[in-house]
């Protein structure tokens, strides 16, 4: 066994990561890195974060075995790590509470965030309400349309939601706009970044805040009899996946599989499967894989899932892929929606469409490995926000309403 792969500190993961931002943000990123380095070993900070995880988020999240679903997946044993049961309905709260506590430590009074599906925006607006911070959320206009319910939730929580009408009107443009806000207001404002991408310290810090998923799940699996054969999670920017992988990185027998959004199919060009269809480049402050043309222009991504509809991916995933420690599988819209319906019908659990990509990966792997296998799937969020979109996909809305 060589050195541990866990909790890699950044700023570089192999040749990926770093900090490619305007000089105007460097001081703020240094200050944030400093504050985080101190906080992560300060019992007062970690104690408060643990308390919030327990008393506010509802951790530890449970494991649920899903035998009726698994019967359709080659008969493998499948367990769900239930991040959907967290307060606010997804894994995003784990990260946001950490970054909001840090904001208070920095003495800043305003937070901004980007959101795709709205889950990170809702979580940030929630933490801002809890900790008395002014909150502005940037969201692509297309996403505000397909996730209207989450827009209303954020506004109910007191956040200002700014629809971003530039570019592709999705997550990527929301991030651009949040960076522009940050450059302008950095003195009072902290950027609560939602995924394990962006400039250092975000990839490492967000991973650390999400690591609780795999730390809990590993103990829970051991208590149930042993480590799983594979851990599966969906990957957009990759925060729930990196949080699901980290504590298993040194368990060589455990396969780690990230499920990327293949949209209409990787060969159609309409997809968001960055590690499958991209190549190295710089986007949103770090070096990683991105979907781009030969000139380096970012290409529009496509996915039925707003949360995975992103043409980049966190640098630690690119590194894990490059060294062969993790695999990244493309999952199409229709595979994800089939898995969405299957879980709902067989287990009575309505997953987020994002998480359904990981479920589709589990069906594929279960059929490959057969009844002897044990799979752990992170159910990163619940599907309440996706009801209308799913109903439309399956043609279940009343006549004239669709």
């Amino acid at each position: 066994m060589t050195d541990s792969l866990q909790a890699a500190p950044g700023p570089y993961f192999g040749e990926f990561g770093g900090r490619f931002v305007p000089e105007a943000l460097m001081a703020a990123l240094d200050e944030l890195t400093d504050a985080y380095e101190k906080a992560r070993i300060d019992p007062e900070f970690t104690g408060e974060l643990d308390r919030l995880a327990r008393d506010y988020t509802g951790r530890p999240s449970i494991l649920t075995e899903i035998p009726r679903f698994a019967a359709h997946a080659g008969g493998a044993r499948i367990f769900l790590k239930r991040e959907d049961l967290n307060h606010t309905g997804s894994h995003k709260i784990n990260n946001v509470l950490g970054q909001a506590l840090l904001t208070k430590r920095l003495g800043k009074t305003r937070v901004i965030a980007e959101t795709g599906a709205g889950q990170h925006g809702v979580a940030t607006a929630t933490a801002a309400a809890l900790m008395d911070l002014e909150c502005v959320i940037y969201m692509g206009e297309e996403d505000t349309e397909r996730q209207a319910l989450n827009v209303a939730r954020m506004r109910l929580l007191g956040a200002e939601v700014i629809p971003v009408a530039t570019g592709t009107r999705t997550l990527r443009d929301a991030i651009n706009e949040a960076f522009r806000d940050w450059v302008t207001n950095v003195e009072t404002t902290n950027y609560v970044f939602g995924t394990a991408a962006g400039p250092h310290p975000f990839p490492a810090m967000v991973r650390d805040f999400q690591r609780v998923i795999s730390v809990e799940a590993r103990e829970q699996m051991l208590a149930l009899g042993g480590l799983p054969d594979a851990v599966l999670a969906c990957v957009g920017g990759g925060s729930n996946a990196i949080g699901s992988f980290d504590a298993f990185l040194d368990d060589e027998g455990v396969r780690l599989i990230g499920c990327e959004a293949a949209g209409d199919g990787v060969d159609t060009g309409r997809h968001a499967a960055t590690l499958t269809g991209g190549r190295p480049g710089i986007l949103h402050g770090s070096m990683s894989y991105i979907l781009q043309d030969e000139d380096g222009q970012t290409q529009p991504s496509h996915s039925i899932s707003a949360g995975l509809d992103y043409p980049g991916v966190g640098p630690e995933h690119t590194w894990l892929s490059s060294i062969g420690r993790a695999e990244y599988w493309p999952v199409t819209d229709s595979e994800a929606m089939d898995a969405f319906r299957l879980l709902t019908r067989t287990e009575g659990i309505l997953p987020a469409i994002e998480s359904a990509h990981a479920l589709a990966g589990a069906i594929r792997l279960g059929r490959e490995l057969g009844p002897g296998a044990t799979l752990l799937v992170t159910l990163s969020g619940r599907g309440d926000k996706d009801v209308e979109q799913a109903a439309r996909w399956f043609d279940m809305l009343p006549e004239g309403d669709a």
């Binding site: 490619f20 305007p22 000089e23 450059v183 991105i290």
Partner: protein, 262 residues
């Protein structure tokens, strides 16, 4: 010494600041943007800053974002930026390029520097690349004698000011206010502060960019900076219709500004 520093020093010898004009190549279309850059030179820009198109310009405000998006829709390529460099050099101003990092990385740091030199360009301004983030770029640029023009901001710490000024060649690009490109009502004290800080850190030539849009502002800044960089106001004057005469008038206003300070 480089063509860029020679030009800045010549302006200084005339007792004035240099006027640096920015335009994105391909806006409103490639041919008009090349004609517009010639207008910049004819109407009094000493240095022309050429922006290759980029899909995610995080340091640009709405006007330049709009122009970049329109240029990309029109099919502009990064190669067109090098054509523009040639056109500006032939027109008699010093061409520099302002490029986001990924555009340079995809061409290859060294290839980007070589192509720039072959086209007659003098330097590259890198809005999302700091010297510590890109030793490969600095090395490639030094090998080709390309000026590396880095930005400093009001938030820049003393330590980083030193690092950035040491790594800069040609000039240091100082932004007086926090924020993206665009027009601002008032700049004076903040601009003076960031210029003095850069000079204290050893910068020989400092130009002020971001926010400058009027002759009066240019005159004020020309009192203490080596150059005044104007982008958004020129892009707005050119507009979707490619109004070269409106652009010419705006450039003349700013050119008068940099000459009326001292």
């Amino acid at each position: 010494m480089s063509a860029l520093t020679d030009r800045l020093d010549a302006c200084r010898a005339e007792g004035r600041a240099a006027l640096v004009g920015y335009l994105p190549v391909g806006y409103p279309d490639v041919d008009t943007s090349l004609a517009a850059m010639r207008v910049l030179v004819e109407a009094g820009c000493d240095v022309v800053e050429i922006g290759p198109p980029y899909s995610d310009p995080v340091l640009d405000g709405p006007m330049i974002q709009h122009a970049a998006a329109k240029a990309l829709e029109g099919g502009v390529k990064v190669d067109d930026a090098f054509t523009a460099v040639r056109a500006v050099a032939e027109a008699g101003a010093v061409p520099v390029v302002m490029s986001y990092a990924n555009v340079m990385l995809q061409r290859g740091w060294s290839c980007f520097a070589k192509d720039l030199v072959a086209a007659g360009g003098a330097g590259v301004i890198t809005p999302d690349l700091t010297p510590d983030a890109a030793p490969e770029w600095v090395e490639a640029a030094r090998a080709e004698d390309v000026d590396t023009i880095f930005l400093v901001a009001p938030s820049t710490t003393r330590e980083r000011m030193k690092l950035t000024c040491d790594a800069s060649r040609g000039f240091v690009y100082a932004t007086p206010l926090m924020g993206v490109t665009g027009e601002r009502a008032s700049l004076g004290d903040a601009a003076q502060r960031v210029v003095s800080e850069a000079r204290a850190a050893g910068a020989e030539r400092v130009c002020i960019g971001v926010g400058v849009s009027t002759g009066a502002q240019a005159a004020e800044i020309a009192g203490f900076a080596d150059g005044v960089i104007v982008g958004t106001a020129f892009v707005r004057a050119l507009g979707d219709e490619g109004d070269l005469e409106s652009l010419r008038a705006k450039v003349a206003e700013l050119a008068d500004g940099v000459r009326s300070a001292r």
